[in-house]
Each structure stands twice: as structure tokens, then as C-alpha cells.
Symmetry: C2
Subunit: 309 residues, 2 copies
């Protein structure tokens, strides 16, 4: 199944204890689509300004991502985010956000995007997410991400939007916040009661947990000695997850084993994403590297042991 | 191999959002020995006051724990800890600590304890830990736990003590603090460079990670809907871990698969510990319940799926 993602396309300025970049390609839809592109055909939808040039398109095109539905606003500025991380790389400190063309974003989707089999609503305003979900009436499977900002300012709308998707990807703290339930198992069940059949709790350096009606699965993060820039890790996770799931066709989201493999591909893509700044690592990633790390995950999680490669 | 644990024996007063207890049996050596008692013969070493009565001994005896080396100080008071937890059960807030007889603790070990094959140095002052390690010259395998207090006040001594044990059990934040290294993989390697061949990073609700020279293994915590009292979870983890390892005899600590099973038994015992206050749940636990939860762990961690029971 083809996959369409709607979300932010951005320039990021990031400073970590390991270096900095003044202006690099970023945004949730970009990180998602690059990660998903290893598994299936991906279309990316989002607005950019006329500062968005050939070099940025080329990053997407070189991974085969279809950019026909990127809306380029003449005279506009691409969404800009400036943030820094201290040694605790789990927390991003935002120093500047300039919405630019993203402030007026009114998603326009081509027929090809509307009829994609799988839809990912990256972290944007929940009313907008719901409108896109309604437009994409061809999508058999839809997932969303969200954040504390929308829980604070648009909770009712977010709950409505959660009600029309199949999979929810959120940080564990945000799942607790949304449901006002400190126990994550109960909190995930409360999210499922809103509609979705799959809830994925992202846990940063601790990995991720998968909740479905029938089961629970948890996967640690890949043990990295060098984490350079965590920006986009969650979107890379969702991209690897949904990209793999879409590639397995209809019904994959109801198959517990496919969901576990999707968790592992998601964690694999997230682990590569954080090894360098922005999209630098994933841009030159290979399928062989992905498959090797997937095998590593089997090794590091097997209680009864799996021979190392 | 038999197992001896040296550490605190205590009365705890605990308040959580789910209830409270004014005075219950606790202490690191107690939680450890109850958990380990399901796997091997356990001897517990530590001081108590004359407020420590038959009911307390009975909890240990009913699990077959040998209490010959519990030193009962006439006129003394048993170590007392009062703490509370908010909805974030990861953080204990200490409200009162009365060292009592523990303030003058000078470990005296019988020949039987000195010659036990496995030794666990629960979280006590590192000089004291080192003295006990020297006394127990029969121990082929020794592990220790420690805490931020000793990193702050007795760092050099703690590093020396780490140098004479085989396994270190510490919270991940404390491993980072001890090594001044924010990356956990590097931090664990620094601890191994101090001497031990196995480092276990306890991660609370996220589970635990195992580091050896040759490999890495991570296990999520058991997904519980009801966590009543996390006091003693880390010691129950270490007890399940070392109890199982001791039961497998010499060389088990060098066997990667045995270490992974030990991680799983440790996590299993910790998960039962937190289901009720203090020692209430583990006191009436059965080996069948342990084995069933071990199987659950196989199910919830298998990427390729393991049929549910």
C-alpha cells in the first residue's frame, strides 16, 4: 500500500553538546517520509516557503519520496525551529519557532494522496488532522502523532481525531497527560477506548511499548554509544513502523507479529536518525544496514538467546 | 550454590496514593532474601533491635531463609524508614530515617555465611561492603548495589568496592552519576573497567539493561495495571537475579543465556513485589506463579511472536 504523510516541513537549527547546525532540513513529515521510504511508496504533504530549494527537494527525491503535494508559497518562509539539547538528550529546549507558511496551512491533497492506502497525520493541530482524515477516504489505515500543546489547548478536538484513526503514536508522558491516568497500561487502554485499536507509547531512550486489545509488546531502544541529535527520532520511528506495515498490505495492522516487526523497524529507523544531525544519517542509509540492525534487535531482546551475527 | 546477603533489615512506614502501612517488615536484605529464596538456600546477615519479633522472623523462616546471622541487639531499635510516593511511583520521598542499631553495624559472619558460594552486598556503606567481601573468601561470585548517597560521600571507597565484585546492580541515573558519563552504554563500560564483568542498569518502570563485555540485553518491566508500593523492587530484582544464577552453579555468570534468564527472574520477582505493600505479595508467592510470569515475559518481548499461554 502507498503511504501519505501530512505534517511539517521545516528548517531546523539545533545545538547539542556534540555540535550544532544553523539550518538543516527537518520537520515531522520529512523525518517520517525518509524513514518510510525504505519500505513503500511515500507521498509527503505540507507547505514550504520560497526559501525551500532544490537541495531540500533532492534529499526527498533521492529517497524516492513523491513531493507533488508539497505546496510552495511564493514570498513565504518555511517553518523554522531552533532548539538545543543538554547532556540529557531526552529533553528539547525550544529557543525559537517561526511558523511561516505553516501558520496558514490548509492541506490540499491530490487524488493520488487522497487514495493512498495508509495515512499518517504527523503532529499538527487536531482539527486539521481530522479534516485530512476525512479527505483521505481511500486510507484503510490511519495513524497520528500529537503533543502536550494540543492536549492543553485542543483536548476535545484531539480526542475526536483519535476517534477516527487506527493507530496512535505518542510519548508515554503525553498518553498519561491526555488520559489523566498515571498508570501507562490503564492510560493506553483509555486511549483505545477512544477508538484506535493500536496505541504505541514512545519512551525515548527506553524504547517503545505497543498496546492492542489482545496484547502487549515492549522493545528497548537500540544501545547507542553516540547520540548526536535526537530531533526527529519519534517521526523516524513512526515512519519505519507505518512504512513497514503499509508494505505488508491490508490486515497487517491486525496481525500481532506484523505489529511487532513494525515496532522493530520503527526503532531501527529512530536509532539511525539520532546518530547524526537532522536527516544526515537516514539520507545515506541502506536497506542492508536496516536489516542488520533488525537482527541486532532480535539478539538484544531474546531471553533464551539468539546467536549474534 | 548457597547465597548470603548482607544489608539492612528494617521497619518501613510507607504511604502511596493507594494506601499506607505504619510499620511493616522491610529493608534491602529482607526483600532480597525473600526473592532469592525461590531459587536457592539463602542466609541473611544484618542487625535488628529487640523490637524485631517472632512475626518478623516468621516471614523469613516461612520462605526457608536462614536467620542465624541476624544480630539482635538488646535495647536497640531496628532501622526505620518512613517514605511516601506520589502518583509518580518512580520517586520515593524520604520523610524520616532512624538508623537505630544499623548505625553501629559491624558485620559478624558465621563460617557458613563466609563460605557461601554467592554473596550480595546490598546498599550499605562501601567500606563495610568491602570488609564483608574480604570476609567471604568462599564466594565465587559477588554482586553489589549502591546509591547516590555513597557516590556523593564515599566515591573513592565505592569505586574500590566495585573493583572487588563481579556484578553491579545500580539505577541507570546512578551509573551515569558515578561515571560522569551521560551515555548509558559508555557509562556501563566505565563501570566494567573498574573490575566487574556484569553491569545491570535498573530502570524502574522501564525495566533493566544488562551489559557484559560481549553483549547487551534489555528487558522491559512487566506491564502492571496496579502498582501499590515500589519499595524493595530493586532488591527483589537483585534477589531473583542472583538467586537464579546461584542455583545454576559455577560459571553461570559467564553464560550469556543464564544471565538473560536471571534478568527475567529478577524482573519477575520485582513485578510481584510492587503489587502489594512491603513483603505482602512475595511472602505468599508460589513458584508456579513465577514460572507463569517468566513465560509472559517471553511472550511480551519476542519480536517474531511467541504464542500466549
Amino acid at each position: 500500500m502507498s503511504l501519505v504523510v501530512v505534517g511539517s516541513i521545516a528548517f531546523d537549527a539545533v545545538k547539542t553538546p556534540f555540535g550544532e547546525r544553523e539550518k538543516m532540513l527537518g520537520g515531522s513529515a520529512v523525518h517520517f517520509s525518509l524513514a518510510a521510504s525504505f519500505f513503500t511508496d511515500v507521498r509527503v504533504v505540507g507547505p514550504v516557503g520560497d526559501d525551500f530549494g532544490d537541495a531540500e527537494y533532492e534529499v526527498l527525491h533521492s529517497r524516492g519520496v513523491n513531493t507533488d503535494d508539497i505546496e510552495r508559497v511564493e514570498g513565504g518562509q518555511t517553518f523554522f525551529w531552533r532548539g538545543r539539547y543538554e547532556f540529557d538528550l531526552n529533553t528539547a529546549h525550544t529557543e525559537d519557532t517561526q511558523l511561516g507558511v505553516f501558520g496558514e496551512f490548509d492541506p490540499k491533497l491530490s487524488d493520488a494522496s487522497r487514495s493512498a492506502g495508509t495515512l499518517f497525520l504527523a503532529n499538527i493541530q487536531p482539527d486539521l488532522q481530522r479534516r485530512v482524515r476525512e479527505l483521505c477516504d481511500g486510507a484503510q489505515m490511519a495513524g497520528l502523532d500529537s503533543m502536550n500543546l494540543w492536549i492543553d489547548t485542543a483536548r476535545d478536538s484531539l480526542v475526536q481525531t483519535i476517534g477516527v484513526v487506527d493507530l496512535v503514536f505518542m510519548n508515554d508522558a503525553e498518553i498519561r497527560m491526555l488520559t489523566e491516568e498515571p498508570n501507562l497500561v490503564r492510560a493506553a487502554r483509555k486511549v483505545m477506548e477512544m477508538g484506535p485499536r493500536v496505541v504505541i507509547a514512545k519512551q525515548g531512550e527506553y524504547g517503545a511499548a505497543l498496546f492492542t486489545e489482545s496484547g502487549f509488546f515492549a522493545l528497548p531502544a537500540y544501545p547507542l554509544e553516540t547520540v548526536i541529535d535526537p530531533t526527529g527520532a519519534g517521526d523516524s520511528f513512526a515512519g519505519g513502523f507505518l512504512g513497514y506495515l503499509a508494505s505488508q498490505g491490508e490486515g497487517a495492522a491486525e496481525d500481532d507479529t506484523e505489529l511487532r516487526r513494525a515496532m522493530t523497524y520503527g526503532s531501527t529507523l529512530a536509532s539511525f536518525n539520532v546518530e547524526e544531525f537532522g536527516t544526515e544519517r537516514v539520507s545515506r542509509l541502506t536497506r542492508d544496514e536496516i536489516d542488520a540492525r533488525f537482527e541486532d534487535f532480535r539478539h538484544i531482546t531474546a531471553i533464551e538467546g539468539v546467536p549474534a551475527r
